[in-house]
């Protein structure tokens, strides 16, 4: 009895993952890292695709947070069980691009299958983040966000500040913080994603390099350049503001976000994807603004966060068949359709990643609805200024680890255990050790 069940199970399993017969649609495993409600929206997009044709069936599976999804996909590859498609957060891009035969670059996939996607339609800041140095597309852009400022307009009014004009410079922000504190606000400002906001986005907007080799796009031998006068000025300001009670460290990653919707902190810098939560929870008048810069800087475009879709081989010695590749390519082309991309943007609050998707959302009157005022600020911020190699994005191997290192050194600076100078120097030393390790481990790959 047991044996029979086992055999039936094995047969069913083989049918699930093996090559499909002509009648059966080809199954494509898709691992993603979006929790609810975003995960549900993603699954709806997938089922819309499945309903639009009969040859392929995409099976989405939630695999935990972004880092967990990444680790799961890598472990599965080592075991010869990798999914066809994996959603990978932007920080993992450097690792994936260097993954050799573990991945199938998107441009190769499209050439092999003959499916056409017009990448000129994509926003440069989105497309470039996932392209090789020579411009060939490595991953399919999917859900992109950027960082913006959320501020409490009621608190601004109480502090006699103009609620409709968030300061465009950090000098102006400093004055606003003092005014907010003077008006009795216990926490004038906090931040989520401390390194993404105050190191990565900060460097891009100020058009200064975060690492050599064009932030790593030029090769794996890049070195960190965060120990520069501009970063020092900013970190010193943050540390001083924290001492004076003008800024509060809200914790690593997105932990700080909890301080805004309840009205505790007047200013919150975080992902554009935070909008839905503020809309739902905030019981005060709030606004969205672009990230400030220091005086004398011509602001450059912001960079993206979020995730892209990578095509993986099944294991070190197993390739994908033509039908599987074709299915993945068709799905990519589907997500780039103007109406699909536009709907995804409007439903989720992620950036519209294609111009036609943006136009489709605008044509539907989305941005003029009162509830959506300011929803186009992240897009404007992505398109402002001239782009340079400092504003394409970040392409460093082991960047997940480097981000943690930067947060640790920032925490030590905010605790007063080290000066901002020491923090930046330690970030550079420890981060470079990670980069050299990665370079060495991937030399042969």
């Amino acid at each position: 009895m047991f044996r029979r069940t086992l055999m039936a199970g094995a047969v069913a399993l083989a049918g699930l993952i093996g090559p499909a017969s002509a009648q059966q649609p080809t199954e494509i495993q898709f691992w993603h890292g979006l929790s609810q409600p975003l995960g549900g929206l993603l699954e709806r997009l997938v089922s819309d695709f499945n309903g639009s044709q009969t040859q392929y069936r995409i099976v989405p599976t939630f695999r935990g947070s972004y880092p967990e999804t990444m680790v799961a996909a890598i472990a599965a590859f080592r075991a010869g069980q990798a999914p066809h498609l994996v959603q990978m957060f932007e920080v993992g891009t450097g690792t994936m691009i260097n993954a050799g035969r573990a991945i199938i670059p998107t441009h190769e996939l499209l050439t092999q299958t003959g499916v056409n996607i017009n990448f000129d339609d994509f926003l440069p800041g989105v497309r470039g983040y996932y392209a090789a140095a020579d411009g060939r597309q490595m991953a399919m852009p999917f859900n992109s966000s950027t960082a913006v400022v959320y501020y409490n307009k009621d608190a601004f009014r109480r502090a006699n500040l103009n609620p409709d004009q968030f300061p465009t410079t950090w000098e102006g922000v400093g004055q606003a913080l003092t005014a907010l504190k003077a008006s009795g606000h216990a926490c004038p400002m906090s931040t989520a994603w401390p390194t993404w906001l105050h190191v990565e986005q900060f460097s891009a907007i100020h058009n200064i390099p975060l690492a050599t080799q064009g932030n790593g796009f030029g090769g794996a031998n890049a070195e960190l350049r965060v120990n520069n006068p501009m970063m020092l000025r900013h970190l010193t300001n943050l540390v001083n503001w924290q001492k004076e009670g003008l800024f509060r460290w809200g914790g690593r990653d997105n932990a700080g976000e909890a301080l805004f919707p309840g009205g505790e902190c007047a200013i919150m810098m975080t992902s554009s994807g935070f909008r839905a939560r503020v809309q739902r929870e905030a019981r005060f008048d709030w606004g969205v603004a672009m990230l400030p810069t220091y005086e004398g800087t011509q602001p450059a475009n912001a960079i993206i966060g979020g995730a892209s879709l990578w095509v993986m081989n099944r294991g070190p010695n197993t390739q994908r068949n033509a039908a599987e590749l074709r299915g993945v390519a068709e799905f990519f082309a589907y997500t780039a359709r103007p109406e699909v991309a536009g709907k995804w943007h409007m439903d989720t609050g992620y950036l519209p990643i294609t111009r036609s998707g943006f136009e489709s959302a605008r044509a539907s009157g989305f941005y003029t609805q009162p509830a959506n005022v300011g929803a186009d600020i992240p897009i404007e911020q992505m398109l402002r200024g001239a782009s340079s190699e400092n504003t394409r994005g970040i392409r460093l191997g082991g960047f997940v680890e480097i981000r943690v290192i930067m947060q640790e050194e920032m925490e030590k600076a905010f605790q007063g255990q080290q000066t901002p100078e020491q923090a930046l120097a330690a970030m550079t030393t420890r981060g470079n050790a990670v980069l050299r390790n990665f370079e060495r481990a991937n030399r042969g790959g």
């Binding site: 880092p67 680790v71 890598i74 590859f77 080592r78 690792t95 260097n98 993954a99 050799g100 035969r101 573990a102 460290w249 809200g250 914790g251 690593r252 932990a255 909890a258 301080l259 505790e264 070190p316 082991g398 997940v400 680890e401 943690v404 947060q407 640790e408 050194e409 925490e411 030590k412 905010f414 605790q415 255990q417 420890r430 990670v434 390790n437 060495r440 481990a441 991937n442 030399r443 042969g444 790959g445």
Partner: protein, 293 residues
């Protein structure tokens, strides 16, 4: 009176031992061997290229200041957890051993926390002591003490020690209760008649007679603090702020699972294995002699 079973031949005894040997082999020797093998390698995350580097992973680790800091954190953390968990459990056990009303109720209540999974226990403490949303966290801040374990390393360490020790108190309590009940009443009563006060009775009779139990618990608690507190630290502080609560076992996880640096992670676990073997051997060799069974 001892019974001795003598088997004819060697086949049957080996067969009877086989299940246990298999389990030990598959779940201990095989992974341990893999870890030792992996500690000499350096490979990329996907396992596509590997390089034999000899002892380089070990020399890198031992030269890494963050690893040495994690070692010191482990010493502080483990001794704080073991001593506070043992001390509190002993105090509670002695109190519960007295003939008071509702002893059974107290006993049950004290044993309960042991059934709580480490990660859930940590979340419980998180909800109590979070500086913004926690009941006690807000209370402490309200009293004018700046409480923020996300930024204050000392406070973070205190919190993980308290959370880890709290769970272990129940376990220790059960063993101390059993130990106390096996102490002959007659001895204590005789001492009382001779005029020994409760404190003196405790230190001269109860404590020495509890020594075997305490010794056993000391070993168990240190091993617990070394290996089983991962969930507590992960859920409460994630090893931060800075690396203030990163212990050796936590660093193995961070470097292996998060940073995908398998060689270094394997080397660290080999070192950890050596430390535990050494610690246990020392305890049994030197401390056990001073314990009266």
């Amino acid at each position: 009176m001892r019974k001795k079973v003598i088997f004819k031949g060697t086949l049957l005894p080996w067969l009877l031992l086989l299940p246990q040997l298999l389990i030990t082999g598959v779940f201990f020797f095989w992974p341990a061997g893999q870890a030792i093998y992996g500690s000499f390698l350096r490979e990329d995350a996907f396992g596509l290229s590997r390089e034999f580097v000899g002892l380089e992973n070990f020399s890198d680790i031992l030269a890494d200041p963050t690893y040495l800091a994690a070692g010191w954190n482990t010493v502080v953390f483990s001794s704080a957890v073991a001593f506070s968990a043992l001390g509190i459990a002993l105090f509670l056990a002695v109190q519960a051993d007295k003939a008071i009303r509702g002893t059974n109720f107290f006993k049950t209540m004290l044993i309960w926390p042991y059934a709580v999974a480490p990660a859930i226990a940590a979340v419980l403490w998180l909800f109590m002591f979070h500086p913004q949303i926690g009941l006690f966290g807000r209370m402490i801040n309200g009293m004018g003490i700046l409480w923020d374990y996300k930024l204050n390393g000392g406070q973070a360490m205190t919190l993980v020690v308290v959370a880890a020790a709290w769970k272990q108190v129940s376990y220790n309590f059960i063993f101390f209760m059993a130990g106390l009940q096996s102490i002959p009443r007659a001895v204590l009563e005789a001492a009382a008649i001779d005029g020994a006060r409760p404190m003196r009775r405790f230190w001269t009779i109860i404590f020495p007679l509890l020594a075997p139990t305490s010794f056993f618990l000391l070993v168990v608690n240190i091993v617990y603090a070394f290996f089983d507190t991962f969930g507590t630290i992960h859920a409460l502080t994630g090893g931060g702020p800075g690396q203030a609560t990163t212990t050796l076992i936590y660093k193995v996880y961070v470097d292996g699972v998060q940073n995908l640096n398998f060689g270094s992670s394997a080397a660290q676990s080999v070192i950890l294995m050596a430390i535990v073997i050494l610690l246990t051997a020392v305890q049994f060799r030197f401390i056990e002699r001073k314990v009266h069974y």
